[in-house]
Amino acid sequence: MARYVLRRVGLALITLFILSVVVFVVASVLPGSVGRAILGPFADQQSVDQLNKDLGQDGSLISRYLRWAGNALTGDFGDSFKYRRPVMDFVPTALWASVKLALMTIVIVVPLGILGGVVAALRQGKAADRFLTIAGLSLAVTPEFVVGIVLILVFAVNLGWLPAGGSAKGSLWEQFQVLLLPSLTLTAILFGYLSRMARAGTIEALNADYTRTATLKGLKRRTVLRRHVLRNSLLPTIAVIASQMAYLLGGLLVTETLFNYRGLGLLIFEAAGDRDIPMLMGAVFIVGALAMLMTLLADVLIAWLNPRVRLGSKA
């Protein structure tokens, strides 16, 4: 197990390096110089050069990468072009807001997805199964803002039960109200994946020999389901959920923009609109690193639950 984890962490570090290169290269193909973009076409070349130097935008691509990555390692992503303050002044607050939204979503979607999957598996091939599968798949691919708009329309505009957006501030109850619609939007997207995983796991366990043995030795159906089927099908499902967190982080971008919720997604959206490259690079890199960390945790969890993975992966 230790060997597997070490190997996996090593791979994650390599991936992190590739990620930093991707983020840097993509952000560096900016046409023209950054200094020129900020100062406008009428500034003289000298002050443009000076600003480029101040912003660390001079020198070759490789030396700029090394400077950026070196600083990033110490948690310094440079200063935002727009606010002229360190990127890291903004990211933690926004990240915390996004984490709240993500946690709320997980609390809703995990039980719901598992329930849907198990129900579909037990009614395999029947109408309930077909409905859950097609509805889940359709919701999973319907853009977040389409679902979000329907939710806003019903619950905020027509029924007036919940706010149509805003940030999570104030009492726990107020925060809950603000968070509910955006997290339901994300739930709609994730539900399909989770219920499909839970469905597949449950069907596999239902068809397994140990389940047939349990049934044949005369156990009640309820006991068979609880002790033999669900116990074997749900643990892997929970591990798969962890691997969907990377997607969840991306979904925040559109959802937070729609609901005007001040999280990392809205921060990235605004940084992109303002062409605030240090902010954009810093925030995207942090989201990517977080997504990678989640994937790593999910892989380790899966390996811990299933010895076949950690032993079979040497090949």
Binding site: L11, I14, T15, L16, I18, L19, V22, V23, V26, A27, S28, V29, L30, P31, T133, I134, L137, S138, V141, T142, P143, E144, F145, V146, I149, V150, I152, L153, A156, V157, N158, A164, A246, Y247, L249, G250, G251, L253, V254, T257, L258, I268, F269, A271, A272, G273, R275, I277, L280, M281, V284, V287, G288, A291, M292, T295
Partner: protein, 307 residues
């Protein structure tokens, strides 16, 4: 799957006679299998339903003027926020008095060009990458796998956003971007399919005949992994629509005022709060119908290929 009628000499089938008959009777060709698969596909209600919706939007994209009742950009302050089904506005009018129905029809164009083009590009990249990785394996496979993992750990829309804020967000850029981002993901699926074919006898035979590896990859292996590739293509098409709409929603890839669905929803969403739902809900439902239809088709094809 395809039943070939073998005239038997009596009731019980005799294995030896069957084998002999089969060698004389016309063998089941790949063409027969394809025809049978197509026949089953066209019997599936999910497939037909999805196809009809997709074709409707494709028609809207190709010939919007035939269906639209008005110029999608003609503004008329007098008819601001006219409700649906009044004054000749089927789905009402938006804040500038433009016809919501006609904008919905014209709005299909951008997405019906970008999404398929991007996925075709992505599939071509994916097939090449997957064949190379699956066939050669070794260090090449390892290196590309790591790069793909790094790409996949980042949400596609974030990478696209990052790139589009640096590059000029034209139609071509978005096609290239989504294509290149999806290519490696499709490549992983193709690789997995190639791995199961790689050690089969026909590949060995071709190798022993001394065929070049490009010939083995593209002529021997590729036709045998077409099934998973078609499934992956349709699934990715859904994701491409999703991604492209998301990008349009956050303001990339379309001009302000364009009837594109994602863009329209972004621009008209504020009127939701005044209980004016039609300018944003109509394109939202159009978008939803398209992705759901693509997924119905993908689901039907997958059901056939998996068997």
């Amino acid at each position: 799957m395809t039943a070939v009628a073998v005239p038997g000499a009596g009731g019980a089938p005799d294995p030896a006679a069957d084998a002999a008959a089969e060698s004389r009777a016309p063998a089941v060709t790949a063409k027969d299998v394809r025809r049978e698969l197509r026949r089953q596909l066209f019997r599936s209600k999910t497939f037909l339903g999805g196809m009809i919706i997709i074709l409707f939007w494709a028609f809207c994209a190709a010939f919007p003027a035939v269906i639209a009742t008005d110029d999608p950009s003609r503004q008329d302050p007098a008819s601001k926020w006219v409700r649906p089904f009044t004054d000749g506005f089927l789905f009402g009018a938006d804040r500038s008095g433009r016809d919501v129905f006609s904008r919905m029809v014209y709005g299909a164009r951008e997405i019906m060009i970008i999404a398929p083009a991007a996925v075709v590009l992505g599939t071509l990249i994916g097939i090449t990458l997957g064949l190379l990785m699956g066939y050669f394996g070794g260090p090449l496979d390892d290196v590309i796998s790591r790069i793909i993992e790094a790409l996949m750990s980042l949400p596609v829309i974030l990478v696209a956003l990052l790139a589009l804020s640096a590059l000029d967000a034209s139609r071509l850029t978005i096609i290239l971007l989504i294509g290149f981002l999806f290519g490696p993901i499709i490549g992983r699926t193709v690789r997995a399919a190639v791995l199961t074919e790689r050690n089969l006898d026909y590949v060995r035979a071709a190798e022993l005949r001394g065929e070049r590896s490009t010939y083995i990859m593209f002529v021997e292996i590729l036709p045998n992994v077409v099934g998973p590739i078609i499934v992956e293509f349709t699934v990715r098409l859904g994701y491409a629509v999703f991604t492209m709409a998301g990008l349009a929603f956050i303001g990339f890839g379309t001009q302000p005022g364009s009837p594109d669905w994602g863009r329209t929803i972004f621009e008209e969403r504020s009127s939701l709060l005044s209980d004016v739902w039609w300018p944003s809900l109509v394109p939202a439902l159009a978008l939803a119908s398209l992705v759901v239809a693509i997924n119905m088709v993908a689901d039907a094809i997958q059901g056939l290929v998996d068997r």
